[in-house]
Subunit: 325 residues, 2 copies
């Protein structure tokens, strides 16, 4: 494998410049890809490329296979393709820890043109395993899915950074805290993400004042998620297991009165499998759950209906824990 | 509990007639509710009522709680309510095995006005368990979901009867066979369900000649499933765990040139829980998977796209069994 990479690398023009651990490195930390404990970190260059260390287990080859297939597939509509990072191939570059040349997947740097972006990484699906995986892998995913909001909500937040201001910088909760989010935390964080008041101030209710500009509108995040949903209702080519939706925007642009550049991107394709003619109902269901919650931030939930119904249910029922079946 | 039922029963006018094990009994057999092994069977009367034995574990109370809540909920749109059986309360009636008075849930007899209906019972969802259930229950469901098409396809066929003609009567595969259906069997059976050639003739390809009349059209099964889907995208009141969609139509009417009376009904609410503001992403995902497959029977799949993409994937990939993560 290394030989292939060296050959590939030699064939590439050496046009790229100083590599630096920059903003995108922060993004990857958000997404749980932080370098450390013997793991290499991702890198970026000045020309808008992102270098993701090639994982030498199955994951690297799976991800390259996906990107190769996806980028050459002429049947992917352009309005869907824009939600995926551009793929530039693979390359041997000096690793982030200085240990020498190491294979990397070369992708579009999603935030190279951004100033202080707020970013949320949302792993979509009520399960992160898939039936074709090994029992051991399924067992591990199954446990984690039940410990997080994945099973209940159909998705979980994997990481986030919310830009506050020049003085405070970003609110970026540690991984352990993010992993412990329950359903109410997730709802709250999705509101904090688009609020002008400080995300760390537990005494103030998030005002959601940026929601119309970031989530709403004809080109906002909700509109993009709905476009994606429409595609997932029919596409049977890929099952995007353990894949994330990134939501990105810039608060500073918004405060200046220019477009916040709200957009979604799909990332992490190390567990993609063929759809074999079946839609990705797991991704689709989770995506619809996210869409519903974001819609409610924009329009408010139908509290009355739900509350009346639930009270009615409670009068007539106890929680079924399935012990008697 | 029995006392409540005796009281309830005495208060009801005793207007109903001879109970008989009739067509609906067959339907329940289809749906896996056959009497036997100490289990009571359902009953019907001549006035269009269906008597489902009240399960004295949690399931009976859960199902009654659901029907009570649902039938009094004025926020359920009429075009959705029609997909659910009408609920008439509970009643003590002579059990199917002649063992004396026993509590029953009284529902609309869904096929009382049908002649030789073809029926399919499809349990919707990529999981039949739910996070709030006991570990033991989850484990049992989880295993069965992986053994059947539930995990892969987002639904499984629980039972079916397809009417052939006066001579042959119904094709009604035994439960063991139905439980062993793989994804290709499910696709095939969904085609056989709307074909004029014999479902038992393994040499002939199902002609799907009834598909336009049964699945298609503005009031056909696909249109009804799409209405249901639209509701599931927004309703957060109920999570319909382990619930089935019944598809029903009459071949004889169709051959006579009259309407086949194609309709869907939702049944089995013993594991319904409150939605607590979260959509039923599990039901929705499975429903979308069924919708896609039925759409393809009507319009044909985009074979070219899928095949080209898959060949491309295969060239670049091996099956990921997750062993290396």
């Amino acid at each position: 494998m290394l030989q292939i990479f060296i050959l590939y690398s030699l064939l590439q023009p050496l046009h790229w410049k100083r590599l630096k651990a920059s903003l995108i490195f922060e993004l990857q930390e958000v997404a749980g890809h932080k370098a450390g404990k013997g793991k290499l970190g991702p890198l970026v260059d000045d020309s808008g490329c992102f270098y993701k260390p090639y994982q030498c287990d199955d994951r690297g080859s799976k991800e390259v296979a996906f990107y190769t297939s996806f980028s050459s597939n002429t049947k992917i509509p352009d309005h869907i393709r824009r939600f995926f990072p551009v793929f530039y191939g693979t390359k041997l570059v000096e690793a982030s820890d200085g240990s020498g040349l190491s294979p990397h997947i070369v992708l579009q740097d999603l935030v190279s043109n951004r100033n202080n972006p707020s970013i949320m990484d949302i792993k979509i699906g009520a399960r992160t395993w898939y039936p074709q995986a090994s029992d051991d892998y399924i067992e591990r995913c199954f446990q984690k899915d039940r410990e997080t909001t994945t099973s209940l909500l159909g998705f979980r937040i994997s990481g986030l950074q919310i830009y506050e201001n020049k003085e405070s910088g970003f609110w970026k909760p540690v991984k352990k805290l993010v992993q412990a989010f329950n359903v109410e935390d997730v709802r709250l964080v999705l509101r904090k993400f688009v609020s002008s008041n400080s995300p760390t101030d537990s005494n103030s209710v998030p005002d959601c004042s940026f929601a119309p500009s970031v989530y709403g509108g004809s080109s906002g995040i909700l509109a993009q998620l709905l476009e994606l949903k429409e595609w997932f209702e029919v596409q049977t080519i890929y099952n995007l297991n353990s894949c994330s939706v990134l939501m990105v925007y810039e608060k500073e642009s918004l405060l200046k009165g220019t477009s916040p550049g709200a957009e979604i991107k799909l990332v992490d394709f190390a567990h993609v499998i063929e759809g074999t003619g079946i839609i990705d109902h797991n991704f689709l269901g989770g995506l619809c759950s996210l869409i519903k919650i974001i819609s409610e931030i924009l329009t408010g939930p139908d509290e009355h209906t739900n509350k009346a119904c639930l009270q009615d249910m409670e009068k007539n029922s106890v929680i079924d824990n399935g012990t008697n079946k």
